[in-house]
Assembly symmetry: C2
Homo-oligomer: 548 residues x 2
Amino acid sequence: MDGLMMDQPLLLSGLLWRTERLFHDKKIITRVGQGQYHSYSYADYAKRVRRLASALVDFGVKPGDRVGTIAWNHYRHFETYFGVPGIGAVLHTINMRLFPEQQAYLINHAQDSVLMIDADQVSAVERLVEIGIPSVRAFVVMGEGPLPETSLEPVYSYDELVDSGTEDFQFPTFDENTASAMCYTSATTGDPKGVVYSHRAMVLQAMCLAMHDKLNMSESQVWLEVAPMFHCNGWNIPHTALLQGATLVLPGVHPTDGDYVEMVQDLGVTGMNGAVTIGTMMRDFVRASDRKWDLSSLKTMWLGGQAPSRAIMEWWERTFGTHVVQGYGMTECTPQICFNSTKSTLADQDPEAVYALRQTGGQPIPLMKIKVIGEDGTELPWDGTSVGDFWVQSPFTASEYYNDERTKESMVDGWFRTGDVGAINEHGYVIIKDRSKDLIKSGGEWISSIDLENALMAHPKVREATVVSVPHEKWLERPLACVVPSDDSITEDELRDYLLTSFAKWWIPDSFLFVSQVPKTSVGKYNKKEIRAIFADGGVSRVRERLA
Amino acid sequence: MDGLMMDQPLLLSGLLWRTERLFHDKKIITRVGQGQYHSYSYADYAKRVRRLASALVDFGVKPGDRVGTIAWNHYRHFETYFGVPGIGAVLHTINMRLFPEQQAYLINHAQDSVLMIDADQVSAVERLVEIGIPSVRAFVVMGEGPLPETSLEPVYSYDELVDSGTEDFQFPTFDENTASAMCYTSATTGDPKGVVYSHRAMVLQAMCLAMHDKLNMSESQVWLEVAPMFHCNGWNIPHTALLQGATLVLPGVHPTDGDYVEMVQDLGVTGMNGAVTIGTMMRDFVRASDRKWDLSSLKTMWLGGQAPSRAIMEWWERTFGTHVVQGYGMTECTPQICFNSTKSTLADQDPEAVYALRQTGGQPIPLMKIKVIGEDGTELPWDGTSVGDFWVQSPFTASEYYNDERTKESMVDGWFRTGDVGAINEHGYVIIKDRSKDLIKSGGEWISSIDLENALMAHPKVREATVVSVPHEKWLERPLACVVPSDDSITEDELRDYLLTSFAKWWIPDSFLFVSQVPKTSVGKYNKKEIRAIFADGGVSRVRERLA
């Protein structure tokens, strides 16, 4: 017996329908210069989104066509978030920080037909044309003022394109499983892999984020989206803000740490999300600044990519009353798998235990199923200590990679193998020990690089730390620590003694390299692959030299 | 181009999967006597739900079979909420307050194969068997102790049935459009009409309620479900509480106003939902009680069925800091259409304007579309004054009534005609003026019975008031007011003068009848149909006599 309910698909345009009627007076604010902001209402936003959609149809963009973007976080980029999927086309957000060859690979693999790029990306895209991106039949430049001089051909102004459309455009209705967006994620080996999102997945993910009381994305929030909008749809946060009618703040082109701090104070930002390094850099900026900053409007700082250290959590809480939260997500999951909040029944434990909980990836969000699989393929108990691979399943988890043979390595019996390793405790808190590719297997026993990193970063003289696996003759693998000190008086012995208070002797890294920077990936995570490659190239001394 | 996301259906068993893993230590508490409670964890709940599901399968209940319940709000009834739909069967909650003939009609129309009933309903159900309910092939009695003496045959003990099942039962996976539950709603004329919910509709509705920051159904809530669980799945609130891991409090059999008050104080209840009369009766109980009550734990009181008066809102806010909220829903919408919260941009108006907003039905919840249609069939603007019929569309709105010819009167072009009349303001707040069947059309102009009722109920000497349309020779229809005084010194002239300060002369009811009670429907709304019938039977004097 079927239910007798309307067959109404979950479409992104459905979210917009409500927002423009209920929250038309709420604002989207983009930083356009030092202390300068472009601000317009969701009503104006929705009109421009419909103009854009109508212009794209007139332009010949068909359902299923891929439209690429190479852009910063700003209102025009956000218009493409609803304008492109609204007509059944697919928004392909391209990572701005990749090398040209990698960007060209993505564009060719996705077969983008139109590229929408920021004005400051024009010369970089000219380079892509030289490499060869034959599927692209038009370039659209987003920015103020006249089109820059360029060899790109044909090239259009984004604002003129929008102006050519009609704001009366009606979004078509189609199946909710229609592709809405795509995003590539780096692979352990080989080229990046493409994930194709559906309208259903993105609407459901936004709803699951919206219902999280600790993220608290409600109408009254003023939310600063620092996470790049080219990465997993900006963690799906712009959609969630729009769904709830929150004020959305976008940092515009080339923002600095100081710009983030200034935006929070100027605009009374109440919540923000970004990579862990953003929280660290904002802290360092405030500490070093001559001005006295009041960031106490900021109640929620969601830091992602890796676990924020306890030191960072405590500094923000103590200094501005800001609650630092984290989650666990990946491109393949639209992106959240877990989100961390302290259950009311666990909040009355001693502070150490609460912090330990807060440093986990959190509990699976609604609709998300997770299990932990041991080396022998059996499901392990949720006891907080049994370590295995995390497998996940949900309506917003990828079922395959786009045109990619590697799908079969990641999908097993309807579950997605995350490639992450860890345990789950009895309350469903997911404790991530490592990416399986970053695991350190020393003398047959494994060592968690993440546990060591978290401990090192909690040391008062440490600013950043990463621990990687390097080859070893006797033990096969051993940990190597790269540490960015915040105090030059730090010594190797000091760190070794400090770690010995928490870890067994054989866990302690053989070398502690004091370096001035840890290489990061294009989305701000520690780039362990690069460190391992430098090590392979010349050992400890080469790493010390390259990261000096 | 399709998205490449997993085809994971939205099933009620999926919500349970998460709750029993993440919130297993949270509690479901049922009142079982004066100050006495049955309390068990979601872990124990989930085990019993799986035992129930397995036992029903063994019992021969097949996917699509209807399983009826006639029961109060308690943990056994709540077990059927997930146990029955979990195996693909359909939970048919039957209104306990209907006449036997009506209940028999529902059971026969739905073709219930099993009836699960409370022990205190046994003799009533024996009467149903006399009337004839041939589809029912087994009766299951929920309650403590041995089975009561009964002619029902075959009859089983619910607890024994549950004990016979296995807690290792695995819920099957099926299409999310599968029927999960059904509920009948009274019709203007003729028999009640059946609404068949799907798993998809109920999961989406629960998610939309969960993401509402003013309802604030979060993990830390202790939620008292007063709304009957036989009515629209208890407004879908039990599912939302389970989804979020909130503590759920159920008032058990034959609860009184004093029981509700006691439960709030005893258990530290933080939120509750029930008919408007519950809020009034609890207030009256507290006022009349010799004891001093502290209900300040109660932050949210959601009153439904009709609009709570400003007097009630103010009393709760002033006395206990309780925020009274309302929504707009109906059986056909699973059930919420709108929920009321004050937008941050409207909160700084003068208090009168904020109260006026709070007395509307609120804004459409996510995924819900609404429009207002004028007499000529055109869509009217959202200007707060253009009055027409509300039409709605959503994934949780009925597309048809179950086996019912009357579907065609209610469904137009993929929209459901609610039968309610009103306007929508520029921020999407839905201002309900009347049920179309309750509209008063006097001399070609219409009068809102709801506006008059709200005004009357704000008068300090009025406890309850309803206004109905009665036939009139010259004007065709005129308003008649039935008023339950809270102060016997009240006079007709006093009320007339009072209304004249807000309404045109021709809006003022011709008669004000002071009565001791207003008849209510089985779900606690004012029964205007009954008052009109009494009037038809003998005019004003007959109404005065019958409601004395």
